[in-house]
Amino acid sequence: MLKHLGAAVGVALTLGVALTAHAAGSISGAGATFPQPVYSKWAEIYKAGTGTNLNYQAIGSGGGIKQITAGTVDFGATDKPLKPADLAASGLTMFPTVIGGVVPVMNLPGFKPGQLKMTGANLADIYRGVITKWNDPILTRANPGAPLPNLPITVVHRADGSGTTFLFTSYLSMKAAHWATEVGANDSVQWPVGVGGKGNDGVAAQVKQTPGAIGYVEYAYAKQNAMTYALMQNKSGAFVKPDAQNFAAAAAGAKWASAPGFYLLLLDQPGAEAWPITGATFILVHTKQADASKAKDVLSFFDWCYKNGDAAAGQLDFVPLPGAVKDLVRKSWSKVVGPDGKPVFR
């Protein structure tokens, strides 16, 4: 009798533990600061709907890569995509979540947002310290009729390592051979000239406080602060403005299907409307999962985000992925397998 009771209690306890573990399941992630607002928002809505708790630590892309490689979190997040060889070496699978853009902003007295036209090569020469005045003939030729002042250009860049800097310097490297050989592309570089601001707000403050300054910030930041931005020349030669539609145009024109491991920078993409400094932010998970149900929780969360998260992302000025890309990502999840070698997400 007593034995039976004990067994019953044991079963009930196990069941109870299993149930609570399932109901109050939690996923942990760490990494990039850039997508943190949208991941938090998604997590909040997801928790209200499913009870699954998502804990995201915005410690920076570098930290995210280190933590997922060490296996201390369920997923890592990075703004700087890992090359397919690096992914294979660490046993990771990578996929994009949302798209953002980097916007050159300036403090030019009398100029309205979008009044200045800029090309990638000129931007690189400004950041190299070759073009030092706003009325430099190269800039006046590109902006006929615009009242460019005789004002020294103050270059402002990010002081902290950042995915924004990675996108920006990668773009300058693509458009200017000098930049590629002298400076290069990374999340922090040895800047030839200029002052460093900490974070987007640091850059924005330096630009706002210095007449003649030029800087670069994430789109959401430029928009929410109504900063004076430049129109950028894209691959088709058109000067486009930074907005959600033009970031989406850059993502739509990109050849995701032929990019192994989704290693793709959305820089200088074809398309008449494509904004040239666009980039996705990425999630990293282990390809071989030790805990299949946990891995399924993670992928189910991102599946839910793809299905239901677009509106929330849009409100925060992030651009959702095109539907075709989402389908490609879901297909790629078949590579993520549990200990039994079967895909964890079906």
């Binding site: 002081a159 290069g184 999340d187 570089v189 200029g194 900490k198 403050a205 406080q209």
Partner: protein, 323 residues
């Protein structure tokens, strides 16, 4: 129950002695554990900094300390820029802050009307409680524009071409750079030094001070030749505390120093400090050698602080043997 029969005096003596001995043992043990834990964690910190920074130190050797190339793209790191920036900003901050802290402390102990002492003293202590990020944001958003408009621009326009002043003030007129960062640092370390100095001066026995006044000394004479020499050791300790904070301060400096890894060439040039460089780059440092270089920077900062404290001790000992 048998104890109850004993005389009261011998009973308490017999009981309290072992209890006191036990207490003493426990107390000694706890103090010893606290002291060794501190030493052990300090040692562990140094060892882990050396291990973590070794890849960079062995790759760049002595050049790590003497070159100013800091290039995360090519993975070449030299820390001379941040090292110089750290030393220069801390020294400037101390030289701005020390006279003011001394003035505050002397005023509060010797000159201040009694009802004002407590409010002023408390507000100095309140200043010490403000988080450094607040100083940083205030520095960037409030102080920098004012500094640029009323100090930097007038100085730059007043400088004759080729003069020393021009060389000292060249830079971008946006209120960020070495000198503005030093001023913010000075404000941050001021309350520590002022509060400690005040406590020290208050600890001077009234008899000492009063006899000096009795001999006809002025307030200045009392402070400079009686009370200050009386608390000399403690005063240097207070200054070193302030200097230690200035050397290691991170957030406030990062906001306003301009964050360039080059040698600062003038007072308004952008620079960086060791702590600001680590704070800026550690989160996104993906290559192993970049991380190692940042940890090695931490080791350098530790050594600088250690050297400064050691020098202060040495100075004290030399002075002590002279007098």
């Amino acid at each position: 129950m048998a104890d109850a029969a004993l005389p009261t005096a011998s009973r308490t003596a017999r009981r309290s002695a072992p209890r006191g001995a036990l207490m003493a043992k426990v107390f000694e043990g706890l103090c010893f554990a606290a002291a060794t834990a501190l030493l052990a964690s300090l040692g562990g910190l140094v060892v882990s900094l050396i291990i973590g920074g070794w890849p960079a130190l062995s790759k760049f050797g002595f050049g790590f300390l003497t070159t100013a190339t800091w290039n995360p793209v090519t993975d070449v790191y030299g820390a001379a820029g941040p090292i110089v920036g750290t030393l220069v900003t801390a020294a400037l901050a101390l030289s701005i802050s020390l006279p003011i802290a001394g003035g505050v402390a002397f005023f509060l102990t010797e000159l201040c009307p009694a009802p004002l002492r407590r409010p002023i003293g408390t507000s100095v202590e309140l200043l010490a409680g403000i988080p450094s990020i607040v100083y940083g944001m205030w520095g960037l958003f409030v102080f920098a524009p004012i500094f640029s408009k009323y100090v930097q621009l007038p100085l730059m326009t007043a400088a004759r071409p080729g003069s020393l002043l021009e060389a000292m003030t060249s830079g971008i007129p946006n209120g960020s750079g070495i000198l503005p960062a030093s001023i913010i640092l000075a404000i941050m370390i001021l309350p520590f030094m002022a509060a400690t100095l005040r406590e020290l001066l208050l600890s001077v026995p009234p008899g000492v001070r009063e006899s000096a006044y009795g001999l006809g000394a002025t307030t200045a004479e009392v402070v400079l030749s009686v009370t200050l020499p009386y608390v000399r050791t403690g005063a240097i300790g207070a200054v070193m505390l302030g200097l230690g904070r200035a050397l290691g301060e991170t957030m406030a400096v990062t906001f306003i120093i301009g964050n360039s890894h080059n040698f600062p060439k003038s007072l308004f040039d952008s620079g960086s400090t060791i702590a600001s460089t680590i704070a800026n780059e550690f989160t996104e440092a993906t290559s192993p050698i970049h991380t190692a270089a940042l940890i090695a920077l931490g080791l350098v900062l530790f050594l600088i602080t250690f050297t400064v404290l050691g020098l202060a001790r040495l100075m004290l000992r030399l002075q002590g043997s002279q007098s």
